[in-house]
């Protein structure tokens, strides 16, 4: 008689994250993923080919500008492979971040009418982008295999086993930044303008268009403070055999992501209950 299934209260404890609910709504998560894919490419001519065009064009542009015009070193690696390697993983991070960053503002319409665990939406973005990354990895692997046969400067090694972990870390890092920003933008819209701009800046603070090895020691700590750095460097090291691989750096990125993710979860959870009144 005294059992209640649901209690609606003004505030719940910060650690009460209702993660069990997310599992109950897992079907919704995958339907959102499906919606994202079907709707984006439904009225395009090239359809999913766009998945390939983006990284290819970016890699070519980087090759021309940073490789040939600016003459930035690629640690003796084929330029196109070097850039493509960084771009592929970076794209996953930046897409996840920017897309999750407008979770609340873009979905205000649905959120205002129906209750479901709001976390489903950013999680579905992570999954969508993971699929996209999977497709783009094929492209990268094709180019990689080509150069692997043609040139002997490439030395893949055992750290390839770390790749799934790196991808997971990158996804969660993007998600954590994204949900924190989306939570804060419900009240302070200024942040919205910072996102695209900030992500771009962050890219130049990550070893995408240059190897970590050419960064002068004086500034190295700045680049290393960026949690993306060691993930990208390890990724490059695994496939190409060139780059900085250091357990300490990687541990730092892992710890950073973990802390950021929990902070994000808590902030997100606080905001999801009240944002309808401020949005």
């Amino acid at each position: 008689m005294n059992h209640w299934d649901l209690i609606i209260k003004p505030h719940s404890k910060w650690y009460h994250l209702k993660l069990g609910e997310i599992i109950r709504y897992k079907d919704l998560l995958f339907l959102f993923v499906k919606r994202d894919f079907v709707s984006v490419y439904k009225q395009t001519i090239l359809g999913p080919i766009w998945f390939f065009i983006q990284p290819i064009i970016t890699a070519i542009t980087f090759t021309i500008i940073f490789g040939n015009l600016a003459n930035i070193s690629t640690d003796g690696l084929p330029q196109i492979l070097f850039y493509l390697c960084g771009i592929t993983l970076w794209g996953y991070f930046s897409d996840t971040l920017t897309k999750t960053a407008d979770t609340f503002t873009a979905n205000a319409n649905i959120f205002g009418k129906v209750y479901f665990p709001r976390m489903i939406v950013p999680l579905s973005v992570v999954v969508s982008n993971l699929i996209k990354l999977g497709v783009q990895l094929f492209l990268f692997l094709a180019v990689w295999v080509y150069f692997l046969i043609k040139e002997d400067s490439i030395h893949p090694n055992w750290t390839l086993a770390l790749v799934p972990f790196l991808i997971l870390l990158m996804g969660f890092l993007g998600l954590s930044f994204g949900i924190i920003i989306s939570s804060l933008t419900t009240k302070y819209r200024d942040l919205k303008f910072l996102v695209t701009f900030g992500v771009q800046l962050l890219m130049y603070a990550s070893p995408i268009v240059y190897p970590l090895s050419i960064v002068p020691d004086k500034y190295k700590w700045i680049i290393l403070a960026n949690p993306v750095t060691s993930i990208i460097e390890t990724f490059k090291y695994a496939f190409l055999g060139v780059g900085v691989f250091n357990w300490m750096y990687l541990l730092y990125s892992f710890a950073f992501t973990l802390v950021l993710f929990f902070v994000g979860l808590i902030i997100f959870h606080r905001v999801e209950k009240s944002f309808m009144d401020t949005v």
Binding site: D5, L6, I8, L31, F32, K113, V114, D277
Partner: protein, 429 residues
């Protein structure tokens, strides 16, 4: 004793008025500072009750204040009230779209809320894909939807277009599809907002029918509407919200009556206040006063059976009006219209021209109203296109007694059948 499935305890909701701007950060900091010192939130103390017509002194307003109620299993509860009385806020809290500022709600069983039909429909996806998506948003699992898919498609009546993107649907088809999904939810508690306001009569009847099914299966329904007919048809109990507080809770009939009776002031003085709730008005003219008098001009609020009476109305035109007509409607206390009287001399009547300013309109009624209570609704509109200028519903009430106006015309029976006695001529062969 029936089982209580929903219990609202002291729920209140505070909103901040005006724009969120420069004050936001300072209020946030202030709040945090109070909290740090273990004190109460300073902004929770201020705030006025939710009365739109008056300007409050503070930036905060209580949209709901100390709401307490319980709902039993199988109850179909209608929630009525004027716009802005807090109905939608209450539904949003119960649907977990927003949280109460204070208090708590306890619920037993699965809740599905229908604040809108077709939430989350994506225009590029087909009808079938949207059924899955919308169903999942409303809390169904994929397996559940799959099992009911055929039923949903059939109920929606858009089977032929089920594999067409919904952007090609008419708005009516979209609503049908949306409701079809919602109708096949199987929650223990169903919360429905004015979804019936959309769609044609047939569709509305279908919705009401479906909700009746739900309640007959012993499930609980909370239904918000302005449509008193629908509320009466569907609900066995009612709750009346006014200015964010519960004004009444009881049987549907008594609550609707008290809701419609609410403007007691009008009844006493005949003055219709400027903030009187108007369903429609375009601001070009306002009814200011209504009185019922006998033919000698004495104000009355009871009529003897078979007594003629006069309705005296004061209308203030804010500008010159051309070709308008004034109408007086008599209805039941539940708002059901019975008679509709229009000023019209002959078939070539083109309406009345009214100059700016106040005017008094008098209409003499010779109608044999049967004993009971009746409400008056006033309207003024353009004759040509029927566009409403002002419309005040159920603004005045009058009782008809069984005592006849002429001594030999006393209403003879205990039961009253119908509302009006027609002038009928009989013959028997």
């Amino acid at each position: 004793m029936s089982k209580i499935v929903l219990k609202a305890h002291n729920i209140s909701k505070q909103y901040r008025l005006g724009q969120l701007g420069t004050g936001t950060v300072s209020h946030d900091l202030n709040r945090w500072w109070y909290k740090l010192r273990g004190k109460e939130d300073p902004y929770l103390k201020v705030g006025d009750t939710n009365d739109r017509s008056k300007m409050g002194g503070s930036d905060y307003v209580w949209s709901l204040k100390d709401i307490n109620f319980e709902v039993e299993q199988g109850e179909v509860l209608g929630i009525i009230g004027k716009n802005g009385a807090g109905k939608s806020t209450l539904l949003k809290i119960l649907s977990q779209v927003t949280t109460p500022t204070t208090g708590e709600v306890k619920i037993k069983g699965r809740v599905a809320s229908l604040l809108e039909v077709g939430t989350g429909f994506h225009p590029e996806l087909t009808g079938r894909e949207n059924i899955y998506l919308n169903g999942a948003i409303l809390g169904m699992t994929k397996i559940e939807i799959k099992r009911k898919l055929d039923e949903i498609v059939e109920f929606s009546g858009v089977a032929k277009y089920i594999d067409t993107p919904v952007k090609r649907y008419s708005s009516g088809m979209m609503v049908r599809l949306g409701f079809a999904v919602a109708a096949h939810l199987e929650p223990e508690i169903l919360i429905v907002d004015e979804v019936l306001a959309v769609g044609d009569q047939e569709f509305q009847d279908k919705c009401i029918g479906k909700m009746k099914d739900v309640s007959s299966q012993g499930r609980t329904v909370l239904f918000v509407s302005h449509n008193m007919g629908a509320v009466q048809n569907l609900c066995n109990t009612c709750m009346y919200l006014k200015n964010g507080q519960i004004e009444g809770r009881g049987t549907t009939k008594s609550i609707i009556e008290s809701y419609l009776n609410e403007n007691r002031n009008v009844q006493l003085t005949g003055i219709i206040p400027p903030d009187f709730y108007r369903l429609y008005t375009n601001g070009e003219a306002f009814f200011r006063k209504i009185l019922i008098t006998d033919l000698e001009g004495n104000v009355i609020d009871r009529l003897a059976f078979n007594q003629s009476f006069k309705v005296v109305v004061e209308l203030e035109a804010m500008q010159d009006l051309k070709n308008v007509m004034i109408n007086i409607n008599i209805g039941t206390t539940l708002g059901q219209p019975i008679l509709y009287a229009v000023e019209k001399d002959n078939s070539s009547y083109v309406g009345r021209n009214i100059s700016k300013g106040s005017h008094t309109v008098e209409a003499v009624f010779n109608v044999r109203l049967l004993p009971g209570k009746y409400s008056f609704t006033l309207g003024v509109n353009y004759l040509a296109n029927g566009n409403t200028i002002d419309w005040v519903e159920n603004v005045y009430f009058i009782s008809v007694d069984k005592i006849g106006y002429n001594k030999n015309e006393v209403y003879p029976w205990d039961d009253v059948h119908g509302f009006v006695e027609p002038d009928s001529k009989w013959s028997f062969k």
